[in-house]
C-alpha cells in the first residue's frame, strides 16, 4: 500500500464500491417482476421509435437533422444490399477484438505484477495514475506521427484507451486481498508463488472482470476515435463521412448499429463479471 497511490486516488474506494453496489442494486429492485419489466421495456422502446417517427414526420424539424425512423431503416436496408453495412461492421469488430486482446494481454499481467510486487508498485504506481488521469486523446496526433495513418494506429489507439482503465482496477484489486487470508497461508507454509496463485489470484478474479468491463467500454471510445481519424472504413468512418455528405439517414442508421454493437460488447462483459463475482459475494455478505 504505497503512500503515493493513496495520495493520488480516491479510486480504490471506487473499485470496492463498484463491487458492493451490484449486490445492493439487485436487492433493491424487487418491485417489478421479471415479466413485467420485460413487457414494459418492449412497450417503452416501441413508444420511443413511434414518437421519433411522429416527431420527424409531423414537426418542423428539418429532415436533415432528424430523418424519420422508417427512412433510417430503409437506408440500413440499402446499405446492407450494397454490402457497405456488413463489410464495415466486420472490419470494426475485427479491429476492436484484436485491439482488446492485445490490451488485456498487457493490462492484466501488468496489473497483477504491479499490484503484487511491492518494488514495482512503489516505482510505477505514480506513472500508472498519471497515465490514467491524463486525457490520452491528446496524444492522438502523436500516434499518427509515429505510427502513420493505418490500421496499426487504430489498434494502438484502442490499446492506449483500454489498458490504463483495466490495469488500474486489477492493480487495486490485488491490493485489496484479505490480509488475514494471506497471513494464514503464510503460516501454513505457502511460498510466494503459491500464495499468489491460490490466495491473491482467486481474490482478484472479480476485479479482473470489472477491469475488463471498464477496458471494453474505454476501448469502444478508442475504436470510434481511431476510425474518425485514420480509417477509410469501419462504422465510425461511415458515421463521419455520411454526415459530411448530409446523408443523415445513413448517419442515424449507422449510429443505431453502433449502439447495438456497444451494448452487446458491454453487456457481454457485464454478464461475465456477474458470473465471476457470484462466488465472492456470498462469503462476504454471509
Amino acid at each position: 500500500m504505497s503512500k503515493a497511490a493513496n495520495s493520488v486516488d480516491g479510486l480504490r474506494d471506487d473499485v470496492v464500491r463498484l463491487k458492493g453496489r451490484e449486490d445492493q442494486r439487485r436487492r433493491n429492485r424487487r418491485i417489478y417482476t421479471r415479466r413485467q419489466r420485460r413487457i414494459i421495456g418492449v412497450v417503452n422502446l416501441s413508444m420511443f421509435f413511434l414518437l421519433w417517427e411522429l416527431i420527424a414526420v409531423y414537426s418542423n424539424v428539418p429532415q436533415l437533422f432528424l430523418p424519420s425512423f422508417t427512412d433510417v431503416i430503409r437506408e440500413l436496408r440499402e446499405m446492407s444490399a450494397e454490402g457497405i453495412l456488413w463489410g464495415n461492421l466486420w472490419i470494426s469488430t475485427w479491429i476492436y477484438i484484436v485491439g482488446m486482446i492485445i490490451s488485456l494481454a498487457i493490462a492484466i499481467p501488468a496489473g497483477l505484477a504491479i499490484g503484487g510486487i511491492s518494488i514495482l508498485d512503489k516505482i510505477l504506481t505514480p506513472y500508472v495514475w498519471a497515465v490514467y488521469t491524463t486525457p490520452r486523446l491528446i496524444l492522438m496526433p502523436l500516434i499518427l506521427l509515429w505510427v502513420g495513418i493505418n490500421d496499426t494506429a487504430r489498434i494502438v489507439i484502442i490499446v492506449l484507451s483500454a489498458v490504463p482503465a483495466t490495469l488500474v482496477v486489477v492493480m487495486e484489486g490485488v491490493k485489496t486481498t484479505d490480509t488475514s487470508l494471506l497471513k494464514a497461508a503464510q503460516c501454513f507454509g505457502a511460498g510466494r508463488v503459491q500464495r499468489f496463485r491460490s490466495v491473491v489470484f482467486p481474490a482478484t478474479v472479480p476485479f479482473i472482470a470489472t477491469g475488463v468491463r471498464m477496458g471494453v467500454s474505454r476501448g469502444l471510445i478508442g475504436l470510434f476515435i481511431g476510425e474518425l481519424f485514420t480509417a477509410a472504413n469501419g462504422i465510425g468512418y461511415i458515421i463521419a463521412t455520411s454526415s459530411k455528405t448530409f446523408n443523415t439517414g445513413r448517419t442515424y442508421g449507422m449510429l443505431l448499429i453502433f449502439v447495438l454493437f456497444c451494448v452487446a460488447m458491454v453487456g457481454l462483459t457485464q454478464l461475465l463479471e456477474r458470473k465471476v463475482s457470484q462466488w465472492r459475494a456470498q462469503p462476504i455478505s454471509a
Binding site: N6, R12, P135, L137, P141, L142, M265, G267
Partner: protein, 286 residues
C-alpha cells in the same frame, strides 16, 4: 473488511495525522514536511520521467521531428506564451469545459437522484441510459456538428453529453445503495418521502456524486478534445493538431503538456471534493 477502504487514507489527504509523538519532535515544520513527504514519490517520479526522456533521446537519437527534447518543449512553451497563442487556447478550452460541466451538474445530479428514487422512472429510462452509457457519446459528434456548426456551442454540448451520463448513473447508483435499515428506521419515526430524501439519501449519495463528477471530468475531456482535434474550433486540441500539421512536434508536446496539467488539476480538485464528501462514510460503508 474495513481495511479494504483503508481508514487512514482520506485523513492523510485532508490534514496531516495528529500524532502527538511526531509533533513533539518537530513542532513547527511538521505540516510542511509532512506535505512534502506526501508529494515526494510524485516529485521523484516526475524527475525520473524527465531523466528517462533524456536517456531515451541519448540512446536512440531520434529525429527531433519525431521526438523532441524536454528543453525544446520548454522553449516551445515559452514561445507560445510570448506570441500569444497559448493563453487564448487555454481559456477557450477551459471555458467550454467549465460551462459544459456546470450544465451537466445542474441537470445530471437532480435527474439522476429522481431516477434513482423512483423504480418506475428507473425502469423507463434504463434502456436509453444504458445505450448512451455503452456507446461513446462522441459518436454523436457528427450529428451535433451538423446541427450546431463548428463553434463553442458544439464543444459545450459535447462536453455536457459526455459528462452527464456517467454523472447520472453514478447518482442513481448512489441512491440505490442508500442503507435500507436507516430508511426503515427513519420511516418508523415518521419521516416522509422528502425527509428521507434530504436526510438519508442525499448525504449517502454525496460520495457517489463526487466520484461521478470525477468521471464526468475525464469523460468531458474526451468530448472536448474530439471536437477540437477534428473540426479545429479553437482551443488546445486545435493548436496541437495545427502543430502536428506543421511538424512542429515540440510545440505539440508543449500544448499537450499544458492540457495534461489542466486535466490533472481539475481531477485533483474533484478528488479533494470526493474525499471531503465521503469523509464521514468510512465506517458506514462495510
Amino acid at each position: 473488511m474495513s481495511d479494504i477502504t483503508g481508514p487512514g487514507e482520506h485523513t492523510t489527504r485532508i490534514a496531516p495525522p495528529p500524532s502527538a509523538m511526531h509533533e513533539r519532535r518537530k513542532p513547527k515544520r511538521s505540516v510542511w514536511s509532512q506535505r512534502l513527504r506526501d508529494r515526494l514519490p510524485g516529485l521523484l517520479s516526475f524527475a525520473g520521467f524527465i531523466f528517462l526522456w533524456y536517456a531515451m533521446i541519448w540512446i536512440f537519437d531520434p529525429d527531433p521531428i519525431l521526438f523532441p527534447t524536454p528543453a525544446a518543449v520548454w522553449d516551445a512553451f515559452i514561445e507560445a506564451l510570448q506570441d500569444g497563442t497559448m493563453v487564448p487556447a487555454v481559456t477557450d478550452s477551459m471555458y467550454a469545459m467549465l460551462v459544459g460541466l456546470t450544465l451537466s451538474l445542474v441537470i445530471g445530479i437532480p435527474l439522476g437522484l429522481v431516477i434513482g428514487m423512483s423504480p418506475t422512472a428507473d425502469l423507463l429510462t434504463s434502456p436509453y441510459l444504458w445505450g448512451f452509457f455503452a456507446m461513446p457519446r462522441i459518436a454523436l459528434a457528427p450529428i451535433i456538428i451538423l446541427i450546431t456548426g463548428f463553434g463553442m456551442q458544439t464543444k459545450v454540448i459535447l462536453v455536457f453529453l459526455s459528462a452527464v451520463i456517467p454523472l447520472m448513473l453514478s447518482c442513481k447508483d448512489g441512491v440505490h445503495t442508500a442503507d435500507a435499515s436507516l430508511m426503515a428506521a427513519a420511516r418508523s419515526f415518521g419521516a416522509n418521502k422528502l425527509d428521507l430524501f434530504g436526510r438519508i439519501i442525499v448525504p449517502g449519495t454525496l460520495p457517489f456524486i463526487a466520484s461521478g463528477i470525477r468521471n464526468g471530468i475525464s469523460r468531458g475531456f474526451v468530448g472536448l478534445l474530439v471536437i477540437e482535434l477534428t473540426v479545429g474550433s479553437g482551443g488546445i486540441g486545435t493548436e496541437v493538431m495545427r502543430s502536428m500539421r506543421q511538424f512542429d512536434t515540440a510545440r505539440m508536446f508543449a500544448f499537450a503538456g499544458v492540457l495534461i496539467v489542466f486535466a490533472m488539476v481539475l481531477i485533483g480538485i474533484s478528488r479533494r471534493l470526493e474525499n471531503y464528501a465521503s469523509r464521514w462514510r468510512e465506517d458506514v460503508v462495510v
